[in-house]
Symmetry: C2
């Protein structure tokens, strides 16, 4: 029977710019007695990736535009944070009351361009999403491979949904495996074509990882063991991003 | 360290109307050498719930409305299926080309009101979502409790998302635990309030379960062991349904 085991990797040091995440994750997992193994899927919270890549901004360094200042004043927001959110977006999808849903330069549709002021390591600083989360995942996977461990890597973040309350962790970057499992053209045991044509396995893996990472405990990495994935080093998150031509809700 | 184990429950018989799912699931799990235990979260695919509850419709019995007939002809759809989709909806959210996104009577926003023609056990039949998926989950949980097993139950289905390709399994009914984990008012290790205010744990559990159930194999039930949940027998899926007043995309 197919069985998955999911566990968090605790014991990582506070991540600073330039940190070697792959080496740190391997060491922390080994130190906890559960070394990363070939075949694992390793899910890394984007926040530590951003910190390692220096994707943090001092709010004092930001000069908000008049638009950012006016809207922030109306809704009691920090104008510097609003300015960063706008700079991280290529388009505002919805702006209603204090809510700002944007499309990021990557093509993700989310609140506040994924900009995070919650636990940046200092007051007055914001953490931005990685510039290229696929490249971030790739770099971690390459670090694992260099240590002889062939593991897939997902960089995850916490996003809201259009029609459902409560956020979930989803994949924003991937390396080593395709994010979507396609059933197109396959038939079920009764000979019908599948209603489900494609599952976003990467998002399900990211959400599963959140269950052990939690948001209050400081466990930014989780390992999923037992998930069968096909090695594909051309994989990116791009197939998950719905093209505007297919988007009914943008 | 927090650790989850997730495994599928194979060996269930073909589900017919009136089947006792709780007893069947307990027997199949025990028969496979992995009995359901107190503390488990059991995720049951809605399709077998619908079959057990007789929520199937013979397409020949359906008289499509002129609206259903005209639209179906334009897009080469089965007018009987379209008619069922319309009857299962309280509102059409988007209708563009062959795509029909509806709000079901339960309040779920999804494609085709969740109506499934893919593996109904016979040609010319459709499987509808359970009338009250919380009650369905409740009945299964009660069956487990009667056997001395205190497990939470989630009824899952496979839904698309507004801005991301690939579907994921999500929760449409729940019993024994709240679907949302709230962090409101809590602070992170740096003293900041959390950016993430509430996580939809139930959807993450449903998605995690899909990873072992798969869509090609016939494994309609999965067990998640090691997830800490607080017993709450007032729980329903209602808190996950975004109220129209908070919905920017309906």
């Amino acid at each position: 029977m197919s069985q998955l085991t999911i566990f968090g990797v605790a014991g990582l040091p506070e991540i600073v710019e330039g940190a070697d995440l792959a080496t740190g994750i391997l060491a922390a997992a080994a130190g906890a007695g559960s070394p990363i193994e070939t075949g694992d899927v390793v899910v890394v919270t984007s926040k530590i990736v951003s910190k390692a890549e220096g994707r943090t901004v001092e709010l004092d360094d930001i000069e908000p535009s008049p638009f950012a200042r006016e809207w922030s004043a109306a809704w009691e927001k920090d104008p510097a944070v609003t300015e960063i959110v706008l700079r991280e977006s290529k388009r505002i999808v919805r702006q209603l009351g204090p809510i700002l849903i944007t499309e990021t330069h990557h093509g993700f549709v989310c609140a506040n361009s994924g900009v995070d002021q919650s636990s940046s390591g200092a007051h007055g600083r914001a953490v931005l999403l990685p510039v290229d989360p696929d490249a971030s995942a790739r770099a971690i996977r390459d670090g694992f491979l260099a240590a002889g461990v062939d593991a897939a890597v997902i960089v995850s973040d916490t996003f809201g949904r259009a029609w459902r309350e409560g956020q979930t962790d989803i994949a924003i970057g991937i390396a080593g495996m395709q994010p979507i499992t396609s059933y197109i053209g396959q038939v079920d045991p009764h000979g019908h074509e599948f209603k489900v044509q494609a599952l976003c396995t990467a998002d399900e893996l990211a959400g599963a990882a959140e269950l052990v990472k939690g948001n209050l405990s400081r466990v930014p990495v989780a390992v999923i063991r037992g998930h069968a994935w096909e090695r594909d080093d051309t994989a990116t998150i791009a197939p998950v991003l719905r093209d505007q031509s297919r988007d009914l809700f943008r």
